[in-house]
Each structure stands twice: as C-alpha cells, then as structure tokens.
Amino acid sequence: MKAATNTPVRGWRDRVFSAATFFFVSVFVLFVLVLIVTDVLYVDRKAVVTVLSSKFILHALWMSVWTSLLTTLIAILFAVPMGYALSRFRFPGHVLADAIVDLPIVFPPLVAGLTLLVFFSQTALGRWIQEDLGLEFVFQPKGIVLCQFVAAASFAIRSAKTAFDDVDRRYENVALTLGCTQWGSFRRVSLPLARNGIIAGGILTWARAFGLFGPLMIFVGSFRGRTEVLSTTIFLEQSVGNLEVALAIALLLIFIALIAVTAIRLVGGSALVRL
C-alpha cells in the first residue's frame, strides 16, 4: 500500500508541466555548475597555494567580507523604516520617493562610483564633508562601504517594502486595540511577519556588495593592502596575466558566497520569532 502524500492526484498533463519547470531549473543549475567546474579544472595547485599564502589577497578577502557585511547592516537599518514608511504611509512625493529607491537597481553600478567621485571631488558640499568634516571617502576603505551602500541598498529597501505590503494591516489593528502603540505593533507584529522578506533583501544586498567591482575601481581604486577587495583583485591579477590566480580567487569568492547564502537561508527559515 502506497503512503499518503500531500500532493493532489496528477494526470499526464500535470506531469508534463512539472517536467517542463524542472527542465529550466536543471538547465540553469547545470550551466552554472559546469562553469564552476571549468574554473576548478583550470586552476592548478600552485595558484591555490599562491592565493592562500598571499597576505594581500587574504587582506582583500577580509576587506570584502567586513565591508559587505557592514554595508548590509547599514542597508537593513535604512530598509526597515523606509520599507515600512513606503508601505504604510502616503505622503507628498510618495511616488517619486518610491521611484528613486529603484534608481540604483536600474542604472549600471559604474554610475554609482562616478557620481560619488564627482560629488566628493567637485561639489562644495562633498569637499566640505571630506576636508572640513574630516570624513574622507575617496580612495579610502570607508568609501568602499559608501559605494557598496549606494549600489546595493535599494535591494534591501525594495524587499522590505514588499514584505511590509504583504503583512495584513488587520494584525496591526488588533495589536493597537490590545494596548500597543504604533511602534509596539510594528515591533511585535509587523517586523516579525516581514522578517523573511527583510532577510531576503539582506541577502541580495550582501551579494551585490560582495561582488561589486566597477564603481569601486572608480571611487576608491584598488590599492594593495588598503582598498583592495576580492573582486578588484581578480581584475588586477588577470590584467597582469595571472589567469590561474584570478580564477582561484574567483572560486574562493564563489565558495564564500555559497556558504553565506545557504547559511542565511537556513537561519532565516527557522522556527517562530519570539515576541
């Protein structure tokens, strides 16, 4: 006797439909795996040793990790209140604000670096921030975080807004009648219910920040031991002909990204949020 399952009885048309969807999943996943395997086969042992023993490369790895994590944290700090405000409140310029949030997703990342460079080097406000306030960003590690934030924060904000949109307002209303202030209903009800969407936005932001290359080359450059991150290291290594080393670094990047994304997904999908 067959065990009962939670799926409906399916005819041959349903099986064809399922097979068609799995076909696309298989093609994409296999294609990416083939590319990674090609890299693995191309890289020799010497290149791996070079990568793991180079203090500049390890420094670039550390820079990539902490700047992208800090960027993600700052982006979420902005995304949660912004997503809630854009989802719940209607204010003059709401549509414009909503559109501006999407701009960094639409324009090429290179533009973010160029714009930041022009702002800090060519405008009075930018120069005042750098020179008088002493907050130097151009060609500085701080600039990496700023550049990553401009290029990637929109993903977190957009995801947070969508997540709050999906939270039924009736939950908040009930919380208000049970003694909550608006902040209380946000903290105890809306935020836990939007948690998965916010985490998803965080993953996207981190991924974009971790792999960012073009705007960083323009805004902070790639100074060994100072502003070099993994993505710019790959560029520098391949530009001087060290293709095996560049690919070994790329594999390291892929490996870290895979572990991070899987770990966050596993944590994000865990048990009930505590009140």
Partner: protein, 349 residues
C-alpha cells in the same frame, strides 16, 4: 455605555452619515446590514482604527473620540479573527498582557473559560474555524474589557457550530456583563443573541429597536425586506370606511381594508407567517380582507412550509406543517386567504 453622536466618516465614495446610537451597559446589541453597508467601518471608528470626521463617541461615559485605540478599553475580534500567525495560541492570548507587562496567569483562566486550554501550545494555522474564533475571543477578553466588539464573529463557521458559538457568546456576555456589539448580516444569528438590533444600509442607520419591533413595525421598505418580509404592496386609497377607523384601499383591482386613516398612495406589508390560509371551502361567510387564491408552489423549509399563492395579488405564506396538511392542497389548489387587519403594517413611502 456606548454612545455615538452624529458621527460621519467617508472613504472613497462610501459615507457613514450622521450615525447616532445609544447602547446600554450589559446589552447585547447586534448591528445588521447587507455587505458593504458600513458595519465594519462603524466598528473600526468605535475602536479608533478609523478617525471620524465629525461627531462624538463615548464609551462608559467617557468621551473617546480623540483617544488612541489602546486607551479605549475595548476588546475587538475582527472578521476572520486575525490571529497573529507568528505566535502560538498561548502567545496570541497573552499578547495584550505582555504589552501591558502583566502576569500571564490569566491566560489559563480565560482558556479554561472558553474550553481551549488544550490548544495553548498549538500553532494557529492548524486550528479549525470554531477554535480560531475562541482563541480570538480569549485574546480580546484577557484584558477584561467592559466593551466587546465582534465583527462577523461566526460567519466563517458551519451552521451547527454557528448556533453553538452564538449560544456560548451570549452565555459569556451574560456571565461577564459585557456590553457587546455584534456585527452580522445574518438574521438567524441576531435572533439567537440580540437584546436589541439596528439595521444599517449604505452608511445610514435605518432603524434601531428590538428584533420584534424590526420584524413587525419596520420603518422602511428596506428594513421590511431585510427582515425577510416578502408581502409588500403598493396601493391606492379609495376612501375611509364609514363604520370603522380603517381605510379602504385598492391593490391590483382587489379592495382591502388597512388600519388607520390614510390618503393618496401607500405601501403596506404583512409578514408571511401572518397570512391566514384555509381550504377553499372555508371561504363562505368570511369578513373583510378575504379572497380566493391558488396554491402555486410549496416548499418544506424545515420548521415551516413556504407556500406561494397566486390570486388578485401574489402572496407568500409561511404555514405550520399541520396547517398545510389541513389544506389538502394536492386535491384542491384553490384556497381562502385572509389578511388580518391587526397584522397589516403601513410603511412610509
């Protein structure tokens, strides 16, 4: 206990217009109306979830018009209950206590009262409709409000569970002495719980009173139809009866008498259960408002038989099974119909 004074609110093209209502302490009040009539909006205004544009609201003698929802001292059960999906049953019920920093011992007490103690450790997504309803009720009652607002609390339940839950709601309301507003579009529900009721239509309060009053003395054609009176007739006054204080009217060529003095055109009704139907042979020697009709169709509705009668005017009559059997309608579809003067109610046009 609850007083609404001339409150107005609009959203889109819908408008709640000058609604005034007085509900006594400890009363079980049912707000009836078709979907889209503004019942939920009125409850939300009372909760403070919608800001009224004009008028005043009082709860327990205190004006609450400008107060936040959390300060109004109300228990609110929204339609479909809105149980927090990220919290288990126990934490749902304890939500208000936690917000106020109070001890959670009351959770088991209220769970016992509603018979849901065994559900406390469960997630909310596996609960049945009746269980969800009781959890939502427990969540609202745990803070011991004086006023309970229920928005269609049993509409998602099956017929049998609905009757049980209505009986439980009434018993609980009596036990705790809660002033309750129960929003519904279902007349049976109202009959099983209401001390008094009101009918809302397109944002306007049509009539407030006991259910018997709404049933027998509706103030408009809408209320009469909402209370399921199908026998509503437009008539023309022919003159006053010389021997009584009645008015003679003409409906589709049939002359009838209506209680009271009237002139011009008028609308009157008689409830289906008040239409007297007898076998055709009993027609001889009858008084006023008696005429012959033919039984066109009949339907067993459980507690009564619904008979459709065609004659000078078409009528619906609700009869007991015994009375219907006495008609011998199978062999003799012709019947005598009498509209008792005291049962006729004149509606304002």
């Amino acid at each position: 206990m609850i007083r609404a004074e001339d409150i107005s609110f609009h959203v889109g093209t819908f408008q709640l217009q000058g609604l005034s209502l007085d509900i006594a302490g400890g009363e079980y009040f049912v707000l009836l109306g078709p979907p889209g009539s503004g019942k939920t909006i009125f409850l939300e205004c009372l909760c403070g979830l919608k800001k009224i544009e004009s008028g005043r609201l009082y709860i327990g003698g205190r004006e609450v018009t400008g107060l936040e929802p959390r300060m109004r001292g109300i228990g609110y059960v929204p339609q479909d209950y809105a149980l927090f999906p990220h919290l288990c049953v126990e934490r749902n019920i304890a939500f208000g206590l936690r917000v106020h920093g109070r001890a959670e011992t009351k959770v088991t007490e209220i769970a016992d009262l509603l018979g849901i103690r065994h559900l406390l450790g469960r997630r909310t997504d596996g609960l049945s409709g009746g269980e969800r309803q009781r959890v939502a009720l427990a969540r609202a009652l745990v803070l011991e409000p004086k006023v309970l607002l229920l928005d269609e609390p049993v509409c998602a339940l099956d017929e049998v569970t609905r009757q049980e839950v209505c009986a439980q709601l009434l018993a609980l309301q009596r036990q705790l002495g809660l002033t309750t507003i129960h929003v519904s579009h279902n007349l049976e529900e109202a009959f099983s719980v209401a001390d008094r009721a009101a009918i809302l239509h397109q944002g306007v309060l049509q009539q407030v009173g006991s259910l018997d009053n709404l049933l027998r003395k509706p103030k408009s054609e809408f209320v009469a139809r909402f209370m399921r009176c199908e026998n509503i007739f437009e008539s023309r006054v022919m003159g006053q009866d010389a021997c009584s204080s009645n008015t003679r009217v003409e409906v589709a060529g049939l002359e009838l008498q209506i209680p009271g003095r009237h002139s011009g055109k008028l609308l009157f009704m008689i409830r289906p259960e008040d239409v007297l139907v007898r076998s055709g042979s009993a027609l001889d020697g009858q008084g006023e408002n008696t005429f012959c009709a033919t039984l066109v169709r009949s339907r067993d509705c459980g507690g009564y038989v619904r008979a459709e009668l065609a004659g000078p005017v078409n009528l619906i009559a609700h009869m007991t099974h015994g009375a219907f059997a006495g008609l011998k309608a199978k062999h003799q579809p012709s019947v005598a119909v009498q509209l008792g003067l005291e049962r006729i109610h004149v509606l304002p046009i």
